[in-house]
Symmetry: C4
Subunit: 286 residues, 4 copies
């Protein structure tokens, strides 16, 4: 029943108000916060699957879903996950749901084989194996984004490689591999719907931050959910800019790998600036 997906939303709202109040009061006077921390409402607010995770971590994962929808990188499809902070072989990700509608109550925990720990009957994304297999293959990765990013799909279907137009996308300078599912499994429904396909995709990704998926979209990874979102947004923008530059008809100068590597150091420093902007916009009125 569609009504089900709004279940618990009032609880979530109360949780969010409490977090906001406590954070602000903390800034004024930390001593005032302690009594509030034992309020029973808060205890009920936690989703059982995310019980051991700090609310601010869940909040940022929810924000990541809504930011990517608000920025036009995700539409009704696509997903974002984070590695479980306390249990690094597990991951946290929304149940099957349009990303723009995600709330804290929708976040589920998955084991290394992509089984939901406690889904209480709620459906999981068919392509969750993208996430499980990448976390296994890439210990450095703390967040994975899968999109049908509209600027990126044309490059995924083309022989023209995606390359960095400017410093905001310097992370692309290491090269952007393209995963051709036909090579891994012949004629399919294009989905990464099992562990074997997830593993093949992770192999094509290798040690890179982005892999394109022919006839599908892309996967973007990062050392934090903020960096993964940043890269997913600027991969989309860069793809559009590159297409425009190519259409001008003259030669195009891309960032060299050395330039790309140097820009990455700076991006780590400034990533919270757009994140705070995007988050404020995506969460407004929620």
């Amino acid at each position: 029943m569609p009504g089900r997906k709004w279940a618990g939303s009032s609880r979530v709202r109360i949780e969010r108000i409490l977090v906001a109040v406590l954070w602000r009061v903390w800034l004024l006077s930390p001593a005032l916060v302690l009594p509030a921390l034992v309020l029973p409402a808060l205890a009920q607010a936690q989703s059982s699957s995310a019980a051991s995770v700090a609310p601010s971590v869940i909040e940022d994962l929810v924000a990541a879903n809504r930011i990517l929808a608000d920025q036009g990188v995700l539409d009704g499809f696509g997903h974002v996950s984070i590695r479980h902070p306390a249990n690094p072989t597990h991951l946290l990700m929304s149940r099957s749901l349009a990303p723009a509608l995600t709330t804290a109550a929708d976040i589920l925990e998955y084991d290394p084989d992509c089984n939901a720990i406690d889904d209480r009957g709620r459906a999981s994304f068919l392509e969750r194996f993208i996430h499980c297999e990448i976390y296994k293959a890439r210990p450095d990765v703390k967040s994975v984004v899968h999109t049908h990013s509209p600027g990126v799909v044309p490059f995924a279907a083309s022989t023209v490689p995606l390359r960095p137009m400017y410093h905001m996308a310097g992370f692309l300078a290491v090269g952007v591999p393209v995963f051709e599912i036909r090579k891994a499994a012949g004629m399919t429904n294009m989905l990464i719907a099992n562990a074997a396909l997830g593993k093949a995709l992770a192999e094509t990704l290798g040690d890179k931050p982005v892999v394109l998926m022919r006839g599908h979209g892309n996967v973007v990874v990062g050392p934090s959910v903020q960096m993964a979102v940043f890269r997913a947004v600027y991969t989309e923008i860069n793809a559009r800019l590159q297409a425009q530059a190519i259409a001008l008809g003259g030669p195009v100068t891309y960032l060299e790998p050395e330039e790309g590597a140097k820009t990455e150091i700076t991006q780590q420093q400034v990533v919270m600036r757009p994140w705070e902007l995007w988050k404020a916009k995506a969460m407004a009125g929620k």
Copy 2:
């Protein structure tokens, strides 16, 4: 039940307008208000043509109109119909009206010859024959969408065929025919304004989900209103993606028919995910 909360929305709207009018007139002169309270206009508020159809079915047809406007597939023109659930030779469609403004009270019923059952003087779409003739020719079709979808019009005028860029548009892999109205009727006003032209268009559509109309737009059909809307939205998006891919200058890999066929099975499973998102957005504040 989701349908329940929209039940009676047309009555509610009329009551709201009356309340607003009476309130304003009251400010001018309280004495003028009393006679208005007994006006028979209110009694006519119910739509008789949709009387035998469940409110949730009408609601989804209204939502389809508003979703397609909200998603940029329809502007002030275009229309959506469904086959009458209880009387399958009849169809349900809005009176002549910009789709974004459709309400339950605007839905009319048409017989197989495209005569309105009870239009109470309200105008019908000039091109309603698109719908009537396709329902006759295609028993599998339960919903028909006609658009001037902006990404699609360039393909309708070009010899470059529309082809599927990714799994969301896998339904295009069976091929997308183009209807050239000059071949059917010479120099016209481009409209499918009678049964003969509707029949010619239905023949060009054949057993496909989408037909382009040269110098005009397209028609998209589906086994449900949700699938027809899904296909209309992703036909638009795919057209834009394909144009961008072509502009990159390299060869483009499209989905093969076998891939397209396999994606269609999945789309049937997930169609409600974007529908619920689009519907929530399109109906917000209505």
Copy 3:
């Protein structure tokens, strides 16, 4: 002073509410309306320069300005005029102001030489001669729109002619001349800033509905303000669609003149459908 441009807005609002109320009450019972028509508030609502013009006519001119801004055809620049209904050698147009901010109080009346009848110190558009000279040359024209329509500027600078992609822009099938100001006046500031340039532009327009201005934008005319707005919007959309079709690389089929002529008859019938939609959207909350 910037505050000045909001002067009279509360008056305008009252006028608008009254008109809305009276229209609705009229539908219920015409007899109730008469007393309201003599309310003194209404008498104060009229702008002196538009004193002899029905409020609904002024309202539609205001709406035209806001619609074209809302639809992305006008930005901070551009203007819309109508021929004075009672004094056909005169015209009505906003004082110099961004079109999105136009109110009834901003509408001024101009004589055939483009002198404001009563500007009360308010500035006029530098390019008002576009309008004055076209009304002189074209008795059939009741409304003139001047824009920097973003889809159109590329065609104005190119040798590629603007041609109709679909029936919504069938009025372009008679051909779209391009005004090269260098031929009329050599090196200028590109503005139609006097009667001689206005006359030269009107000559290039000839008997057509649209003329492009190289390095500038376009002028669109119509037999009513609704038709002029309709044509300005669909000239913009058609330009974008044509650019996309050309970029696909294959031959493009445009509407033939005979097709274009036939579509124009239909457009006259349906023009109020998008107008009502656009007006409701552009005037919402104003």
Copy 4:
């Protein structure tokens, strides 16, 4: 006076947050609220660095940041500065912050070597040297804008020169130089992160209004903050229009230098028209 209504907006915002917090805490436990009412945080709300500058000047600088974000010229990055009106070797610019979030309290003052006069621990933009070095080199410049303007980045990476399509961008007719940071400093992180790079960039800018930065964006200068914003917006729009014109495939006629020079005189006269529109839109609800 227009400035008047925004005066004290930062104080008002802080008061509003406090009221919201206290109200929520009051609901939890009224006793917790009293101590918070005497917190000294409120006393720190005034910006000391802008103490000697008229509020209306600060307001326009804040508006410039928000306008450029609202118009899509800036995203989470980029910055706007003005020359200090009373101390012309100094400049005023926001602390490191997404431009859309700028308030009067965020404006800092910098000395000629780009040291903040009183940052109270708040971070400055890494690339503030763009501004300091241009003010030194160009006494005529009163405002500097640095952007990653999306239409412009493709031209910055291409050999195709940016040229004026229409009178709104006539200021481009003097030529638009491109700064290649590799020539100045080899392989870098692409940022103008010190005075030497700022000086090199200022040299490439020369006496022009706009310089493109390869792999980065652009810098736009003007004799007032309104003109700098106007030029930044129309540089972006012109870039998009030029790309579309090139894609049409035929020769394109650009404004000649003489035409460009003449348009600049007019733009100075009309610059407040779009400024007032953009400002009203960008500051709405702030």
